[in-house]
């Protein structure tokens, strides 16, 4: 089956490695990501003010345009997923706002699109047992900490993604790849998000706690589903190191990069040059590249 795919801005720039590995792996797993034509920014935040519909116009346009092409829309970036899924839900549940937005964007979208995350495709369409069978290079011995962040899960009632306090989809995925899952208490805590712009110290502290907790529990690599989180917990590791002298760096990979390794892709196609902390020494040590 093919899926309409909304990449989002970051996956065309800072997170090309996320985008490319996802596309390549999907082909190996027998489905294709069909990129939505003429897509725009997702809007980046679901409006925090309940009466502000302007911020919903970009995701509404994306949804309306996707519905003209198909019935299922997938994304990778956790922030885009959050914004698009919640906007879709609003179209399903609030007729008044739906009509208002439709009038404004001159569309007639009724909320009848299914918005799924790439991880959900892997779990529900491919199936983790089947994925396990197709793994060419199991990640045996790699201690990986799944970091959900918040956007996939919250608000729980609207996202309906996984158990609100103890999600397991990411763990199931890593186990299917043969990795050793590292449980750590900060796996659903906020990365600091946009605080890294206005109050960088706040974000640095969040990242320090998340990574420190993962390492304390034995992680060798932290796995991310979100370019925003990755920016805070990977790209900002030099800042963390400056502020916290005891801090040791740790590689942060997108889950699709690990999937790529497990599917046997050449490591030169996995975009490690975009990862701030080079994962190659670790992966070489484990015999995975």
């Amino acid at each position: 089956m093919d899926y309409l795919y909304f990449p989002g801005c970051t996956l065309y720039t800072k997170a090309k490695n996320f985008d490319q590995t996802a596309r390549n792996c999907s082909l190996l797993l027998g489905f294709e990501l069909k990129e939505l034509p003429n897509w725009t920014c997702c809007g980046a935040t679901f409006p925090l003010a309940t009466d502000n519909l302007m911020a919903l116009l970009p995701p509404a346009r994306i949804l309306a345009s996707a519905r003209e092409q198909g019935t299922v829309l997938t994304t990778l970036c956790a922030v885009c997923f959050n914004v698009i899924k919640r906007t879709n839900r609003l179209f399903q549940e609030d007729g008044e706002k739906r009509d208002k937005i439709n009038n404004f964007i001159e569309k007639n979208y009724q909320g009848d699109l299914r918005v799924v995350h790439y991880l959900e495709i892997l779990k529900q369409e491919v199936g983790f047992p089947q994925l396990k069978e197709r793994v060419k290079r199991p990640l045996t011995g790699l201690r990986a900490a799944p970091y959900y962040g918040c956007m996939l899960l919250r608000p729980f009632e609207e996202m309906e993604f996984d158990d609100k306090e103890r999600p397991t989809i990411f763990e199931g995925f890593l186990e299917a790849l043969g990795a050793k899952v590292v449980e750590f208490p900060y796996k659903i805590e906020c990365c600091g998000s946009f605080q890294s712009v206005g109050s960088p110290d706040v974000a640095t502290e969040c990242a320090y706690k998340i990574l420190g907790s993962a390492m304390k529990n034995g992680a060798e690599v932290v796995v991310s589903t979100c370019p925003m989180c990755t920016f805070n917990i990977d790209h900002k590791q030099s800042d963390i190191k400056q502020k916290y002298l005891d801090f040791k760096t740790i590689p942060v990979l997108y889950f699709t990069q690990l999937l790529g390794i497990a599917m046997g892709l050449d490591h030169r196609t996995l975009g490690f040059e975009q990862n701030f902390v080079d994962p190659l020494p670790l992966l070489k040590g484990k015999g995975l590249v």
Partner: protein, 436 residues
């Protein structure tokens, strides 16, 4: 059993906790015969699990045991324990109640209550009475002072029932009272009035995902803390945490866990948690002098006689730290439990590294209360609390003449209020009987 048309001046009390006991004693002392039906093997109810009671800090068992003994020996009170009401027919003055007497697998007529069987039983399992902390036997009584002091066998733990081998209790019993072939029996009682005092439960700590779905051993509920602090409990009254038996030096108490939370749990206030949490913290300080107790609260509701003074004493003289705010998450970090909360008075996030966490979980109705209400033809609210005839002026009557409510089955109450409610129910029964 067919009546002869006369108004039966004999009452049934369903539930043998402090409310049921109080109502039974009142009615018995007034000269009426009472049938007291209790689900568990012996009477005493929740109060038997408590260590000390607020606001006087006197021993719960010391105040309760004289009552249970009096009930057990009362010439007018017939105890029907380890039994549940199956069905009810009739009307005030002529109720016919069928009761399922559960198989105890022990002939209580023969049993002398010597306790040898419990000593020798080889099966050990987490004791429900001790909130899963202590070990109980497959043949058990709820406490050494149980009334009646007769054991029952729990087939789900008994080796003979599970594996077909053992029969140690049968061999050891000096009066040959063990009977593995015993079956449930249905008996019928004819009464003129019924007092429903089936008590309460607590929302299980497993309901709280943010607090680890009940899988952190050192995170316990209020009743478990009562057992820890009780001389008859699993630690013989020493405050030792379940995981490793260490004396906790930092204890966090969380009020309103599941209460006053309409979006996720129970919308109502459970009424007793402010007081028993203050009591817990004070009792903890009495036993662990160098320990620190923290209490997270939303408001402090101490509206009984001597209650506010009790809270103030804890704050001012015993150094209990009250933090106004909720706790968002608890997780394990090595040997510690990390508690993330808010102090809304300073507007700061608070992190406490605790050894033990005690949740004041919401009081809920017994899960079988709604079903019982249906059998009785009385009403229950959405949660399962039984509905009184009128909120203010008829707080113990129901819509059905001859059926009255007592204690927490009607809504959360502390001991003093439960007893007052039960006294009122008993006097309503007497008024009904006096009329005919």
């Amino acid at each position: 059993m067919k009546g002869n048309g006369a108004f039966v001046k004999r009452a049934m009390v369903i539930g043998g906790g402090i409310a049921g006991i109080s109502a039974s004693l009142d009615l018995g002392n007034a000269g009426y015969d009472v049938v007291l039906v209790e689900k568990l093997p012996s009477i005493g109810g929740r109060m038997l699990q408590l260590s000390e009671t607020f606001p006087t800090l006197d021993c719960a068992q010391c105040t309760l045991t004289p009552k249970t003994v009096e009930t057990g020996q009362h010439p007018r009170i017939k105890l029907v324990t380890y039994s549940e009401v199956e069905g009810i027919e009739g009307k005030a003055g002529d109720f016919s109640v069928s009761i399922r007497r559960k198989a105890a697998y022990v002939d209580w007529e023969r049993c002398t209550g010597c306790g040898l069987c419990q000593q020798k039983c080889p099966s050990k399992n987490p004791s429900e009475f001790d909130r899963g902390m202590g070990l109980g036997k497959a043949i058990y009584t709820l406490s050494p002072q149980a009334v009646p002091n007769k054991p029952v066998i729990d087939p789900s733990h008994c080796r003979y029932f599970k594996e077909g081998k053992c029969r140690v209790c049968e061999k050891i019993c000096p009066v040959k009272a063990i009977d593995y072939e015993q079956k449930d029996r249905l008996v019928e009682e004819r009464v003129g009035a019924i007092v429903v005092a089936v008590g309460f439960d607590l929302i299980p700590k497993e309901s709280f995902g943010e607090y680890g779905y009940g899988e952190l051993p050192d995170l316990i509920d209020g009743l478990a803390f009562e057992r820890l602090n009780s001389a008859s409990g699993p630690t013989t009254g020493e405050i030792r945490r379940p995981s490793d038996g260490k004396v906790p030096k930092e204890v966090v108490f969380i009020q309103c866990t599941g209460s006053r939370d309409p979006e996720r749990y129970m919308p109502y206030c459970s009424r007793v948690c402010c007081m028993y949490t203050a009591k817990h913290a004070r009792l903890y300080k009495h036993k662990v002098h160098d320990g620190q107790a923290y209490i997270f609260y939303m408001d402090i509701r101490s509206t009984g006689k001597g209650y506010e003074e009790f809270i103030q004493q804890g704050m001012e003289e015993e150094g209990i730290l009250y933090l106004r705010g909720r706790v968002s998450r608890i997780f394990r970090d090595g040997e510690k439990l990390i508690v993330w909360g808010a102090d809304t008075l300073t507007g700061r996030k608070v992190e406490v590294s605790a050894d033990l966490v005690v949740l004041a979980t919401a009081m809920t109705p017994r899960k079988e209360a709604k079903e019982l209400a249906k059998k009785l033809g009385i009403e229950a609210d959405d949660h399962g609390f039984l509905t009184e005839a009128e909120r203010k002026l008829r707080p113990v009557e129901t819509k059905v003449e001859g059926i009255y409510l007592a204690g927490c089955a009607q809504g959360p109450k502390d001991i003093a209020d439960s007893v007052a409610h039960a006294n009122a129910a008993a006097s309503k029964v007497q008024a009904l009987f006096a009329k005919h």
